[in-house]
Symmetry: C2
Subunit: 466 residues, 2 copies
């Protein structure tokens, strides 16, 4: 079934009674609560669930899933609602399981550099908790998302180039399966060759195979020294070539972000800065004081070879915060270019050797189609975002945006890239899944889905058609 | 079915004819060839396949798998036969697909730091090929294994602490499924959130879900500077505490290996060295000359705080090679302690906070049970090996070894570790799978196996009982 064929039926009164008995006033059917839980931060149409369950334990999730399985009722897990492909919309109604009250940090293992948390813990909450330990959790998708949600969408962000994505940083998950059984996908060892990689099966499964209730993730020592720099380039190509050579040289850069000319206009205006309007790289270096200085000197030299002449330091923590706040506000800065409009978020990722070509062709498309769109990229990974602004009432603009996205994804796929580097498939990219992976691979995904969730109750209508 | 219930039937003549027609003299039924392909480097009893197919292309693998599926005949992929848990034994007979002639390096992407190879390419062959590019492939399990085999067993080795395991370093796989369909698990982008993680599903699946025929793996720039060091410690605990603090401090050590007293005796004798007989760490540092020097100074200081006073450098490439050759020969050095004996390889991995305790208890078991066994460990990952020597004819010794392994695995599991850090489950550790993961998780693994290989023809009798 897919979004268009999903049938929506009201919750059975018997199910509702049982849920109420289980959760008391932690079950809500209030219209406002349901509406809030049926939408994320994307342009996708909201679909409210029939009820929202604010759970406190894995056992409660088990009880809910068992009841829903009995009644063949959809179950949608909800973290903070910051996904970007309509992941939480209750396309066929059902019960939303809100994880936000499962927000206990269960166990920090300082010597092992890992932590066990409930799925509703957010990344900022975790880092706040870790403040005095000398450790931190690096993955930073921008939003203050829940760790369960980040695992479910295989999130990453600005420092994946150094620390990896959720794929590399989840050690183990506790998952409630579609029939209410609970599994723990792995133990706490750093590596294991014991059986199929169940952890990675659920990381990125977008709630379609089970509900993640707890997770163990890796932590890192807070670097002794951090420094940041900004550097404008004569062209996208020279900026990307700088990145390629930096990575080939083994410089363990912690962040390396590309902002195009339009994005620099937007952040200068929004964040009241006066950066040069040119393709620009933001860098962050982590290490010892000497190591960070050496890394930055090498990168500065590489940038110089590529025509960049204004490598600017941001060594104080204030200057650094200001710089990265501007980067984090890039999306809001872009939206502010045309107040009242929305952004149609895109997320392609290509081999870095094709990145400059891909970004430049995208800029030409933006101009040609008369769109207003800025580009920012996690350029060390070959991943970039552009979110053309739109007015949902303007049919012509929507058409041009659809044509733009079609070209963008087609180009990324032609360059051996992916339609989504970190946002996930959700509803929005289901149509690209087969073009990206081929019919046999998508059929294998459907086989996995059917064998693990035969009733299709786990977040139905998302990712893969069954 | 499991090893004991697998029924062995002779190959159907019709199947044999079709295979001969397909492969000509690249199909062998010679006893010596079949015998060679039914054993690996472990103590497990060999089981020869009925025929060995030396394939040249994915298309040939497809044709063989389709024929075998028609005749419900087992298919066992074979790389270099260096696995350690009886992975390649043809427990129910069938056709062995020898990948060694699929050994072309198809495409090196210098700017993207990746390479596409056929599954039969070995790691040394790849690094030889890369010699003039400035890049290298780091994963080093000791043996010169094929990359397809390394992916299938989720191999790692001495430098996983810095570069990760095959899990982190495989970008994409071409896999022939049990019905002959071919999938490509991912494209060439560094990261992707597009659908279930099929790559990781097949990495570590030990040939039980499909035959890997091609793979894309990550490459790294050869570090500008490499240095190595050896350091003896007053105790296992002080050595492990040094490792913990090194990693907490964010030192990107490339290799950090623990050898216990007995292992030092063995390598001194075997490799004609004169290292102090004490718990010892071998280090390797990768980076810029200044970075490497700084890393080593910090580690030396940490070691000093833990009572180590003879931190010795091996900066020349000769001294380094000698040191690491000794480490690579550790297993042969141990075997030479009692010529003619075999080693019963073990492979537990525990959270590093429990490692010293685990190693020390294991040493006590070795003494108590009157076994001859040395210990070496990839200590940055919490993974260590001990291979008690045995004479297969000595029933009493075998019994003591079984009891030893039982205690070792039980202890690792009690410490939240795994029964196998890098060797895999194969035949030898199937009995531990449920104790490690629980019944529900193992049942999920069996569900995956049944849904992807419903006829149970892919390497039957290994990893998970179906």
């Amino acid at each position: 079934m897919n979004a268009s064929t999903l049938r929506r039926e009201p919750l059975e009164p018997l199910l509702l009674d049982s849920l109420r008995q289980l959760l008391g006033d932690r079950l809500s059917t209030a219209a406002a609560v349901c509406a809030h839980h049926g939408r994320d931060e994307s342009y996708h149409a909201p679909h409210a669930p029939d009820a929202v369950a604010f759970v406190h334990s894995t056992e409660e999730v088990v009880a809910i899933v068992k009841l829903c399985a009995e009644h063949k009722t959809p179950v949608i897990a909800f973290g903070t609602g910051t996904s970007l492909e309509g992941h939480v919309a209750a396309l066929a109604g059902g019960v939303c399981i809100d994880m936000s009250q499962m927000n206990r940090i269960l166990r920090v293992n300082l010597e092992d550099l890992d932590v066990l948390v409930e799925a509703g813990v957010t990344r900022k909450q975790l880092n706040e908790h870790l403040r005095d330990t000398g450790l931190f959790f690096p993955i930073d998708p921008g939003a203050d998302a829940s760790l369960g949600g980040m695992a479910a969408t295989r999130a990453s962000g600005t420092n994946a180039v150094r620390y990896g994505t959720m794929r590399e940083n989840v050690l183990a998950l506790t998952v409630v399966l579609a029939d209410g059984r609970v599994i723990r996908t792995a133990r706490r060892a750093r590596k294991s060759a014991a059986g199929y990689d169940l952890t990675r099966l659920f990381v990125g499964s977008e709630g379609t195979l089970g509900v993640i209730t707890e997770l163990a993730v890796r932590l890192y020592g807070i670097p002794e020294a951090i420094s940041a720099a900004v550097c404008a380039f004569p062209s996208i190509e020279s900026a990307v070539d700088t990145v390629i050579l930096t990575i080939q040289s083994g410089i363990p850069v912690a962040r390396i972000e590309l902002l195009d000319e339009s994005q620099m206009v937007a952040i200068n205006r929004y964040s009241k800065l006066d950066h040069k309007v040119a393709p620009t790289l933001f860098f962050e270096f982590h290490g010892t004081p000497a190591g960070v200085a050496e890394q930055a000197e090498i990168v500065k030299a590489i940038a110089g070879e590529h025509g960049a002449d204004d490598f600017q330091w941001a060594t104080t923590s204030e200057a650094r915060s200001k710089l990265w706040q501007a980067r984090h506000d890039a999306y809001y800065a872009a939206l502010a270019l045309r107040p009242g409009s929305k952004g149609f978020a895109t997320d392609v990722c290509v081999p870095i050797s094709r990145l400059a070509e891909c970004v430049e062709a995208t800029q030409r498309d933006i101009a040609e189609l008369g769109l207003l769109a800025t580009i920012v990229g996690h350029v060390g990974d070959g991943n970039f975002h552009t979110a053309p602004l739109f007015d949902p009432e303007d049919r012509d603009e929507m058409k041009r945006i659809e044509s733009f996205v079609e070209r963008l994804v087609g180009r990324a796929l032609a360059m051996e890239g992916t339609c989504t580097g970190e946002h996930g498939i959700g509803q929005g990219k289901m149509k690209y899944l087969e073009r990206e992976h081929g019919a046999a691979a998508v059929e294998l995904m459907a086989t996995l889905k059917r064998s693990i969730d035969p009733l299709n109750i786990m977040n139905p209508g998302k990712m893969v058609q069954v």
